[in-house]
């Protein structure tokens, strides 16, 4: 594991990038995350896998300080997500299921706006934005409205938006869902590249080959509980198969997950005024 040797800028005491103890989130009577303990090492890509409704997004949102835990604790880079939220926020980047991009701003404007939230000075930010746009091959579109971009383009810029401030830890919630094969390949390579640059990456995905290809370790979660944590290879060996998908199905069963989630179904697609 490459992680531990990397000299990162963290204020960590535990040595872990992420550590949770008995982390729990309840929505009324429904327990989305149920007394979960796990730890992510610095510099690794940690694949967080589970069927729909398993609690992946809830866990990510707690780690990003967007949700407060019902009980238990979580620390990111050594900082408590509840008590030291602001320290945590300085050190993380988030790519969530919904694009964090204003469709009515241009690519560069979006990057400048979000970068300024981290008090990066304008000149540095401009240089950094252009550098990152070049990296994801969007330089020629930098002055075009993000609303006019294809899904793949949006996701590429969405990913670089999350790393403008050089976060130690990057949370990627299903970053390749809905992308075409070319964009998927590109984003996966980008994730590897980001690991090379020293970012710790917390990745959720439904695509098992993606998890297998990218992750140093994977964690399988279901019904809010952890079913297994190990390297993809060890898990495959344990279940005597050469596909992580089979491991996943062994762990979580073949039953379809059709239960309607209250929190999601309450939301209606937004209509513009």
């Amino acid at each position: 594991m490459a992680g531990l040797s990397l000299d990162s800028k963290s204020g960590s005491h535990t040595g872990y990038a992420i550590e949770t103890i008995e982390l729990t989130k309840k929505f009324n009577s429904f327990t989305a995350v149920d007394h979960v303990d796990f730890s992510v090492q610095k510099g690794e890509i940690y694949g967080f896998l589970g069927p729909n409704g398993a609690g992946k997004t809830t866990a990510i949102r707690m780690l990003c300080t967007l949700l407060s835990p019902t009980s238990g604790t979580a620390s990111v880079d050594g900082y408590d997500v509840v008590k030291q939220g602001n320290e945590v926020r300085k050190r993380i980047g988030l790519v969530s299921e919904k694009m964090i991009m204003y469709p009515r701003l241009t690519a560069l404007e979006n990057l400048m706006f979000f970068g300024r939230l981290y008090r990066i000075d304008r000149n540095t930010l401009k240089k950094k934005s252009e550098e990152l746009l070049e990296m994801v091959k969007l330089t020629q579109f930098k002055d075009k409205l993000v609303g006019s971009f294809s899904t793949g383009m949006k996701q590429r810029i969405n990913v670089i938006r999350a790393i403008l401030h050089d976060p130690d830890i990057l949370f990627l919630d299903e970053p390749t869902t809905g992308l075409d094969p070319q964009s998927t390949r590109f984003v996966r390579d980008l994730i590897k590249e980001l690991k090379q640059r020293g970012h710790t990456i917390f990745l959720t995905t439904h695509i098992m080959e993606e998890a297998d290809e990218l992750s140093d370790r994977v964690c399988v979660i279901d019904h809010g509980k952890i079913m297994a944590v190990d390297t993809p290879q060890t898990l495959k060996d344990r279940y005597n198969t050469n596909s992580l998908l089979n491991v996943f199905l062994e762990l979580t069963g073949r039953e379809l997950r059709d239960s309607a989630n209250e929190r999601i179904s309450m939301r209606t697609p937004m209509g513009r005024m």
Partner: protein
């Protein structure tokens, strides 16, 4: 497009209400001037007496009506025919000069003119009625003047006998007091306040649903800054909207400003501050944008009617007045009206301002922690 709707709608509403409540016509029997908000209303004259006096009076009526642009007068042969036209909506009133009109006057008896008005529309009905009376008053006065001069040989001023006491008004403000003068400041306050209330609710919940709110919340900026940013943006938008509406009402309806634009600005700013907190609270409570919008609408709609925007609050039943006076919009509209129409200074509207400030503090104090909580629910 959105702004167009926000500007056009209040203007439309205002013109509707402005014409619904016509200004008090300041008719003056001595000078013979009758003001009207509804020029050239169609009426018909049914002349059932062909005596000389009847002809003279009828001609005089037509002449005055046309001169002052009060009525477009037609003549109809029978009352029944005129009544049919009125029922069809082609006429607003019928004036009947009955048989025996000339004979009565010749015999030195008071004569009667009969009037029928379209009672399906109370506003025009009362306008038509009072304007017809006013015209006949003028005709009557001139007849009396002649008679008195004939009898008295010009020693006494005939007006002394007919109107020994007359009333003249010292206007509070110069110019014509039109209902628009009352409506414009109210609508301005309404647009600015509800505009920013809805704007904040819509903007916050849109960001929440769009997902960009997460981007703001995971960054190390204080949550209060997010709220303040939204509030400021929407307030500026609301203010621009409000002053556009004022500008348009000056242009379209001849509204005049007698007070200081700076004090107007202060009142509007405080009015907005008193209400955006409510918008934030609603966004915090509502699960999605649609619900948030519905909640603001539910609050906003009755508020338009009971805060003295469209008609004075004194016209409401007592308990409704209490509710109206519990809402900050009433104070904003009241203060703004005093400034715009009466050139009131800050000292005059101080009570209004104090109440608005109190509202601002209370609602914001409730809104900010509620928002914090709702965002990490």
């Amino acid at each position: 497009m959105l702004l167009f709707f926000f500007i056009l709608f209040p203007i439309l509403l205002m013109s509707m209400f402005g014409y619904m409540y016509p200004p008090i016509s300041k008719s003056n029997p001595t000078t013979g001037n009758i003001g009207t908000a509804f020029p050239n209303l169609p009426v018909s004259l049914v002349q059932m007496d062909n005596g000389q006096m009847a002809n003279t009076v009828a001609a005089k009526f037509i002449q005055i009506s046309q001169q002052q642009g009060l009525f477009a007068v037609s003549e109809t042969a029978s009352y029944q025919a005129a009544r049919n036209q009125l029922v069809e909506g082609k006429l607003k009133g019928i004036i009947i000069i009955p048989q025996g009109f000339s004979d009565a006057l010749a015999a030195g008896q008071p004569a009667t003119v009969q009037v029928t008005v379209d009672e399906t529309n109370p506003t025009t009905a009362s306008v038509v009625q009072s304007e017809i009376s006013a015209v006949f008053n003028i005709i009557g006065s001139s007849m009396s003047t002649q008679d008195i001069n004939n009898m008295d040989g010009g020693r006494v001023n005939p007006a002394f006998i007919m109107h020994p006491i007359s009333v003249t008004e010292i206007p509070l403000i110069s110019g014509v007091a039109s209902s628009f003068q009352f409506l414009a400041p109210g609508f301005m306050a309404l647009t600015v306040i509800t505009g920013s209330l809805q704007g904040v609710a819509a903007a916050l919940s849109r960001e929440k649903e769009q997902g960009t709110m997460d981007g703001l919340l995971v960054s190390p900026i204080p949550h209060v800054s997010i709220i303040l940013g939204k509030v400021m943006a929407q307030t500026v938008r609301g203010l621009i909207q409000g002053f556009l509406i004022l500008g348009l009402s000056m242009l379209l309806f001849g509204v005049q400003i007698y007070g200081s634009p700076f004090i107007m600005f202060v009142v509007l700013l405080l009015g907005t501050a008193s209400f955006v907190g409510v918008g934030i609270i609603m966004t915090a409570i509502a699960p999605d944008q649609e619900t948030a919008q519905m909640m603001t609408m539910i609050l906003q709609f009755p508020m338009m009617f009971i805060s003295g925007i469209m008609f004075p609050i004194d016209q409401l039943p007592g308990w409704m007045q209490y509710i109206g006076k519990a809402l900050p919009l009433y104070y904003a509209a009241d203060a703004l009206r005093k400034v715009v129409i009466l050139n009131a200074g800050l000292n005059v509207i101080l009570p209004d301002i104090a109440i608005l400030a109190l509202y601002s503090i209370l609602t914001m104090a409730a809104a900010i922690p509620l928002f914090e909580k709702a965002m990490t629910r």
